[in-house]
């Protein structure tokens, strides 16, 4: 109902706007039509950079380069042979290029594809870098493109540039392109694949553990963003009707960056608002450069004054709203209506699992983190991995879950070797984990966090999410996943938080959410890294019950690292002990408590044994009492 209402409202808005564009030549003079055109082009550029930077979290400074590629490709395709002949006055044009021609619409699509192709080529080596390094690398790439264009005069007419490009960019063309880009982008971001993009931005490590091939996701987002850059550049060239390499300097990228920062990194709505504001303000502020008369005071015009005022306004925006005008929020018709809550459905699963770890050795240079670890986990067991600080427990987790490659040894999961697989592949094989220091996708809702975990079970490809109304699988699978996620949240007592930001949850709930997210991947084996860390005795009591319940309800096998002896001794069927990388003991809790090596290494002195016993006895007594 709500969806239909929103759809109708959207269609009405689009029709009204199309009607306005149709009447624009009568309502507005050429100057304002041009500004309107620029708004659409800037919005396309801002959306595409926002996809790369704001949404997927890759700091890219190369957008001007992709614009340049798009602008040149489109211009070379739409210019007539006669025009080309007249323009190449310094060096002769390549003969084959003279007669290459395409209609405008085809030319801008090809422009986008060529830019995306270059984007892909850049992405493959460069996206292995992160943060500032990526920024520098893409900046360098844009500069290379510009210099290449300058120096391949037979292809591009070098520094002379191209002129007389037919002014094909009409209002309907630019806004039509923006409409398509916007529609695809909103659909994609609303699908679970969009959630995956944001998950990669918020926590790449955790995303990997959710079975996501983060590198592939980043390459896809970057390439799509480059397509937008090329498209925007092509439209720009056909609006200005002349291009040259100096048009695509780093300042061009800064302009787009400014739009998305003002609008809000990661917000589609923000990018649109940002481009409207930045484009109109810059033009509108021109009056401050004219001589102004206020009463009897004459202020002479100062060139450059509007940039000063514009920059001041920018600074004000950033001071008062650091996250930009929209932050990460989006426009929704729902703000005009009260909210309704969806009802979840139920679903069940069953399977079996075994982990076999044989002679695992992990060395960092000369340091042995793990030196010969052997153990088996049978289906349905809860196994504890304990040891003093620095014993190599988390390293063992990282080896099993694929973050580290073992120096030697084999790991078999469900009978298959998983040694050397990456975390996302391990996850797909049926293993999931939590982290010692909680790694949630902090900016996302609780529900989206869980849905991200379910992405690996979805069958639709990323490109289908661009056109969900064609590929209805996207909508169907997403709503199924959403229902399952709500169900999981309910089982874990988190359903009341479903629409809240993950980072706003209380600590205990964040722990449970991390487990819920891990469960969403439907694991057969769950690795819990210190689930009781930071909990008070009452909370850890609840946790113990919770872990057993998890095993029973979800038919899981669990391997857990824990320092809280009470939890370990109570909840585990079997215990493995590590000390300084050496596997010193294994056995049932009773055996471990009696093992002198463990006591020496882990508990320090013998008294502790008794203390532990006492704690456990007291605990059981309490439990009996409760019954």
């Amino acid at each position: 109902m709500q969806r239909i209402r929103n759809l109708i409202l959207t269609i009405i808005a689009v029709v009204l706007f199309a009607f306005f564009l149709d009447k624009a030549p009568e309502l507005l003079n050429g100057y304002w039509q041009r500004i309107l055109n620029l708004i659409a082009i800037n919005a396309i550029l801002a959306l595409s950079l926002n996809l790369i930077y704001g949404i997927t979290g890759m700091f890219s400074l190369g957008h001007a380069g992709f614009m340049a590629i798009g602008a040149y490709v489109s211009a070379l395709l739409v210019l007539s042979p006669a025009q080309k002949n007249a323009m190449w006055i310094l060096e002769d044009i390549y003969p084959w290029l003279l007669n290459v021609n395409a209609p405008f619409i085809a030319s801008i699509i090809i422009a986008g594809i060529v830019a995306a192709f270059f984007g892909l080529i850049v992405a493959l080596p460069v996206l292995r870098l992160g943060g500032d390094y990526l920024g520098i690398a893409t900046l360098g790439f844009a500069e290379i493109i510009r210099i290449l264009i300058t120096n391949t005069a037979r292809l591009t007419n070098g520094s002379l540039g191209l002129k007389g490009i037919p002014a094909y960019t009409t209002l309907f063309m630019s806004w039509g392109c923006l409409g398509v880009v916007l529609l695809c982008m909103v659909c994609m971001l609303r699908s679970n694949f969009g959630g995956v993009l944001r998950a990669v931005r918020d926590d790449e490590v955790a995303a990997k553990m959710m079975g996501i091939n983060t590198f592939k996701v980043k390459v896809i987002a970057f390439t799509l963003g480059c397509f937008g850059g090329g498209l925007g550049g092509a439209l720009m060239g056909n609006l200005i009707t002349t291009i040259d390499p100096r048009m695509f300097m780093i300042t061009q990228t800064y302009n787009i960056l400014m739009i998305i920062v003002v609008g809000g990194l990661g917000s589609v709505t923000g990018s649109i608002i940002g481009s409207v504001l930045v484009t109109t303000m810059l033009e509108w502020l021109r009056f401050v450069e004219n001589p102004i008369t206020i009463g009897s005071i004459n202020i002479p015009g100062i060139p450059g004054m509007r940039m000063v005022i514009f920059s001041l306004l920018l600074i004000i925006v950033i001071i008062f709203r650091r996250e930009g005008i929209m932050g990460m929020r989006e426009f929704s018709w729902d703000i005009f209506f009260p909210k309704a809550k969806p009802k979840p459905k139920h679903e069940k699963s069953n399977h079996e699992s075994v982990l076999e770890v044989e002679d695992i050795v992990l060395r960092f240079g000369g340091l042995s983190a793990i030196d010969g670890l052997n153990f088996n986990i049978r289906h349905g067991q809860i196994v504890g991995l304990i040891g003093p600080n620095g014993a190599g427990k988390t390293s063992a987790f990282n080896v099993i879950s694929g973050f580290y490659k073992p120096t030697s040894g084999t790991i078999k999961f469900l009978g298959k070797s998983i040694g050397g697989l990456s975390p996302d592949e391990v996850c797909k094989a049926g293993m999931s984990r939590t982290f010692q220091n909680i790694r949630l996708f902090g900016h996302e809702t609780v529900l989206q966090n869980v849905m991200t975990g379910a992405r690996i079970r979805q069958k639709y490809s990323w490109w289908m999410s661009l056109m969900p109304f064609v590929f209805t699988d996207v909508l169907r699978e997403d709503s199924a996943v959403k229902a399952q996620a709500m169900n999981l949240l309910e089982q874990l007592g988190l359903s009341e938080f479903a629409e809240e930001k993950a980072s706003s949850l209380p600590y205990g709930a964040q722990r449970r959410l991390e487990i819920a997210r891990a469960l969403a991947t439907r694991p057969k084996l769950l690795l819990l890294d210190e689930p009781a860390a930071g909990m008070n005795p009452q909370e850890s009591d609840e946790l113990m019950k919770f872990i057993r319940r998890l095993r029973d309800e979800f038919d899981l096998t669990i391997l857990l690292i824990e320092h809280d002896m009470k939890v370990v001794m109570n909840v585990c069927d079997y215990i493995q002990v590590l000390d300084q990388g050496i596997h010193i003991a294994h056995g049932t809790p009773e055996e471990i408590k009696a093992n002198p090596r463990v006591i020496e290494a882990y508990l320090g002195h013998e008294n502790t044994d008794k203390e532990t016993d006492q704690i456990i006895e007291r605990h059981y007594a309490k439990k009996e009492g409760q019954k």
Binding site: N29, G30, Y31, W32, R34, I35, L38, A86, M87, I89, L90, I147, T150, N151, A153, G158, S159, L160, G161, K163, G164, A167, M236, L239, I240, T241, T242, I243, D244, P245, R246, M247, E283, R286, F287, V288, E289, N290, I292, T293, I294, G301, P303, G304, M307
Partner: protein
């Protein structure tokens, strides 16, 4: 805070409501007043404003200048011209420094049918296929050939080389036309070397030039790089001479370049404050300029800004009307108009045909050494 800002905006908006006046000729000026070309753009604006001060009325009508900045940016240039035509409804436009900006603006003016007079946009493409774009400057092929002619005929040099800024359309064009012309006259090009705008180390190119042993090196650089090239050439002990083009025409060349620019020559428009035999227009211009700017000598950019206005004034007077179409038609038939930079005739491609001057730095002073007729 928000209320205060809103109030401020309202006040500013009210101030911008312009009065519409029938008996006013509106002349739009779009030039680079900020950004990387601001230096040239501002000098040209000052020249045009001086011409306006001296000729505030044409055909008895008051002339109003509407000045917009194009920020040395193509998108802004197109916006600026659109604004002048659509919002301010100007009768004609003057501008700009920088050929790429002129091309972006020219497309808009062409469609709207408003005549534009370019000041120092020398790329041949600017007026190519344009009915409404004119210019008071000569074009790159003309100037490149002029430098070659002077080097070959007047100085008698037989071996030349070029050092060209690859990223600059002006420089690339001039370099090519110099080489073509020099070879045609029977000279030899011994080296053709390149750099990129913004480079600061030219020793590699200069060493190669020294090895190639040219008599003269053509350096169609902008002043920023040109001055460094001359300085480093002096340090490396280069013995060949340098000749540049009008972008090296800078009033401060001697103060900035010192010793290193001694003997440097450059082609320019036939005007320099040091000219011995100035025409009447140039004399008047120099005198008036010095009155307003006693501490700053005029250069060719100021002269071209001035001349653009004179060209427009002449066309409006001959057309007897300030209608854009009539101004355009009159501009096309401009012949032997006395301007600061010599007699101006607009040719079939809308470029100014005029004399070309050569300036040499002699004894720490810019010296106008003569006029050249290029052999194209």
């Amino acid at each position: 805070m928000r209320k205060f800002l809103t109030a401020l905006m309202l006040v500013l908006m009210l101030c911008t409501v312009a009065s519409a006046d029938e008996d006013v000729i509106k002349v739009g000026i779009f030039n680079c007043l900020t950004g990387q070309n601001a230096f040239g753009g501002q000098l040209e604006l000052e020249g045009t404003m001086l011409a306006h001060t001296l000729n505030p009325t044409i055909l008895g009508k008051k002339v109003e200048l509407v000045i917009v900045d194009n920020k040395s940016d193509k998108v802004e240039a197109a916006n600026a011209v659109t604004r002048l035509i659509e919002n301010d409804k100007v009768n004609a436009i003057i501008g700009t420094y920088g050929s790429s900006l002129a091309m972006a603006g020219g497309e808009v003016a062409e469609k709207a049918g408003v005549p534009v007079i370019g000041t120092s946009c020398t790329n041949p493409l600017v007026t190519q296929d344009k009915k409404y774009y004119f210019r008071v400057c000569f074009i790159d092929p003309f100037q490149g050939a002029g430098a070659a002619t002077y080097a070959f005929r007047n100085l008698g040099f037989k071996k030349a080389a070029t050092l060209v800024d690859m990223a600059n359309d002006y420089s690339v064009g001039l370099g090519k036309f110099f080489r073509d012309s020099f070879k045609k006259m029977g000279g030899e090009i011994v080296a053709s070397l390149f750099y990129q705008s913004g480079d600061t180390d030219f020793t590699a190119q200069l060493t190669a030039l020294i090895d190639a042993k040219p008599d003269i090196v053509f350096l169609p650089a902008y002043f920023a790089e040109g001055a460094i090239v001359l300085k480093q050439a002096k340090e490396l002990g280069a013995t060949f001479r340098f000749i540049g083009a009008d972008a090296m025409d800078n009033p401060e060349i001697v103060t900035l370049g010192g010793d290193a620019v001694e003997g440097f020559m450059h082609t320019t428009f036939a005007y320099d404050p040091s000219m011995p035999e100035m025409n009447e227009t140039a004399k008047a211009f120099t005198a008036e300029w010095n009155k307003i700017h006693p501490d700053k000598a005029p250069n060719v950019n100021c002269a071209l800004g001035y001349d653009a206005y004179i060209l427009l004034k002449d066309a409006i007077e001959r057309a007897g009307s300030a209608e854009p179409q009539k101004i355009r038609d009159a501009l096309e038939t401009t012949k032997d108009l006395p301007t600061v930079t010599g007699m101006t005739t607009i040719n079939a491609t809308h470029d100014a045909e005029k004399d070309m001057g050569i300036v040499e730095i002699r004894g720490g002073k810019k010296t106008f050494v003569g006029i050249v007729v290029p052999e194209i």
